[in-house]
Symmetry: C2
Subunit: 409 residues, 2 copies
């Protein structure tokens, strides 16, 4: 790392102020859904900023925006930094946006100091990472990394029956397929944590080890609805049994470090004043980066569901309907990040992410990772989303260091 480098916080705050004024909600959040007029406004300004830095600008056929700062060895694969400028409905000012604006600040510092790097650096804004409009997340990065078919994404409809392709064309951001990012060398994304761990542990930066794998199940428990006048003995109450299952699914997180479980859908029938429950349908999901640990927890949960149902002579069904294995990010990059943090004397921890972010797709193509900043009260995707500029300054400095280091590798 170059110890003279540091970001200009005042400038970064001013960049944020501009972003925070486009699509603003009444409680100072942002409602900047991808491929809407507010998204276009933000994109247009972003493109101007890239021009101001003299970058080589491209728009690809998904509307992803790239700005390339050429290195001295154009044959080396580039270092890619960035994230997304779109938000959830009534979302916050930081999720995604932090990664793009900090990357821009990195470029500005390098330009200001006239620093040459061996590799090129590409800053990127991915289209519709939030997936809030067309139902699937990470549409822009998903297609260019080969995870989604382009035609599939183009035909996705929003609730007003506008397709992705129509929306993309309507804001004038349908570019050329030749402009897609090719052969990334490294990908680094700065992002807010979207959870409370850094705040709870009082750490300034999270080095993201990887993304938790997720397995989802649907469970149906069938007993017998009884009138409330029926005595306590001899009932086959599906809600009482399901309550035991919920508590087991919740408490198993104490057995495995960093495991998280969630009972999501929970539907009780008949759900009437004077009737016990004859049937409960619920879903649960189990998240852990390590696939073996996740499998072990799942086995314990399913065994417990069977045991409870059998003891109470209830019928049950347990069906897996979704699985994504855990993703491990690049240790190589993470070690460099740790070096930067230690030199700068920031506090930090290694952490896993519950959500994928654009980096998850890039990890299949090149060494990738994510750097986390703390989220106040662990909140995200809401107007209250907040990361302090103290924390942002530190994380942006680390992003500057790692970009410089990787670009000279």
């Amino acid at each position: 790392m170059n110890e003279d480098l540091k970001i200009n916080l005042e400038r970064l705050i001013s960049t944020f102020d501009t972003s925070s004024s486009i699509g603003v909600t009444k409680n100072n959040g942002l409602n900047r859904i991808g491929l809407t007029s507010d998204d276009k406004k933000m994109r247009d300004i972003f493109v101007e900023w890239l021009k101001d830095e003299g970058l080589d600008i491209r728009i690809d056929d998904l509307g992803n925006i790239y700005g390339k700062r050429c290195g001295t060895s154009p044959d080396e694969n580039p270092v890619v930094i960035g994230s997304h400028l779109d938000t959830q409905p009534n979302g916050g000012r930081f999720d995604g946006i932090l990664g793009v604006l900090s990357s821009l600040e990195v470029i500005r510092v390098l330009n200001e100091k006239d620093i040459k790097t061996k590799r090129s650096i590409e800053i990127v804004n991915f289209t519709l990472e939030e997936g809030a409009r067309f139902g699937i997340p990470m549409e822009g990065s998903g297609v260019i990394t080969g995870n989604y078919e382009k035609e599939y994404v183009y035909k996705l409809n929003d609730k007003n029956n506008v397709t992705f392709k129509e929306a993309l064309e309507s804001i004038g951001y349908r570019g050329e397929i030749v402009n897609r990012l090719k052969n990334p060398g490294f990908f680094v994304e700065l992002h807010i944590e979207q959870g409370p761990m850094l705040e709870i542990n009082d750490k300034q930066i999270g080095i993201v080890e990887g993304v938790k794998g997720v397995t989802k199940f649907e469970v149906v428990i069938e007993g017998q609805a009884s009138h409330a006048a029926y005595p306590a003995i001899g009932r086959r109450d599906a809600l009482v049994a399901s309550s035991e299952m919920v508590l087991f699914i919740d408490s198993i997180t104490e057995q495995f470090d960093d495991l998280s479980t969630t009972v999501g859908v929970f539907e009780v029938s008949p759900s009437l004043y004077s009737m016990s429950a004859g049937r409960v349908k619920f879903t649960f999901d189990v998240r852990h980066i390590n696939d073996q640990i996740r499998a072990k927890a799942i086995k314990l949960i399913i065994n417990e569901i069977k045991k409870i149902a059998n003891e109470k002579t209830l019928n049950y069904e347990v069906n897996e309907f979704w699985n994504i294995d855990g993703t491990y990010f690049s240790n190589k990059i993470n070690n460099l990040i740790e070096n930067s943090i230690v030199k700068r004397d920031y506090t930090y921890q290694y952490i896993t992410s519950g959500a994928g972010h654009d980096a998850k797709f890039f990890n299949d193509l090149c060494d990738s990772t994510v750097i986390f900043t703390p989220s106040k009260d662990g909140l995200s995707h809401c107007e209250e989303e907040f990361t302090s500029f103290d924390d942002i300054e530190k994380a942006a400095n680390v992003l500057l260091d790692i970009t410089y280091d990787l670009a000279n590798k």
Copy 2:
């Protein structure tokens, strides 16, 4: 009791067969909602049967049907026996019907043997005990015992906007107010248990001590919905807390003999695949004949709800929205019933009822009680409802004894 008396099972079965053919469902249940054409068919036949026994027949302004067998001391208040011939939608062949048809058999035996009694005996079929059509139960007995206003019941609408009064008139069963039952001396109702206790305890007859009091509450638990990607630590999951509450409400029945509790309505928000619960609304009801015991159980439950909510820093509301105190039936009659059972060498137990039946209203006017027969698997209000004729014969003999005894008191 007169030890020579016993009911004619063959005749009673034949009476049942007729009833079981009116409003029959495809699975051999009955769908004989009150004040419908099938109810009229059954009523017309019942009136014919009463005529055949030479009874003095009256229809009152609620459509209740009475048949009076005059005693030798017409100034003494009559013994009233009976129940209701209407059913729940897709209900069974026994609930209510058993009480009316067995009472008819009692009259037939007394007539056949030409037995005179001191008091008159009145057999009764009450209108719409099930309340399946106009939303409140026990409409016929409720008005004549002063528990409902007649005008209120007359104006009740069914789902097709037909009023009780219109329905009553349409089947030709709106009689005169002067025909209402006056000054009952005793009321005895034979009914199926609608629960499993006699079957579980292998008893042929239940002597009903009284009706459990009922208190109902609505509970709202508010935490914070979190995305499933959020770590296990720091969540405020309203479903996990509510599950603990459900288990406490269920398990408290082990602390108090004959207490029953039911969580009925149970609604989770947002109930989405990848979100934990931010809010749960549920209702619970607590049933015990003894008001002090019920109050004690309620206090323990509410304390536990508060404790769980506070431990997990959740907001909560607990509101009582319904209370009926416990009812104790006549020990005097129950002792006589016990004498009859012992002499006839049947097995029996004392039992409380979770539901009111017409007898609950009569208990305020005169010594009243209910006799229970076993229900297979505890089921009622469904096509599977079943009581064996072995059990029915025994219970009808006891009804015969107690009617005879009370009528000569």
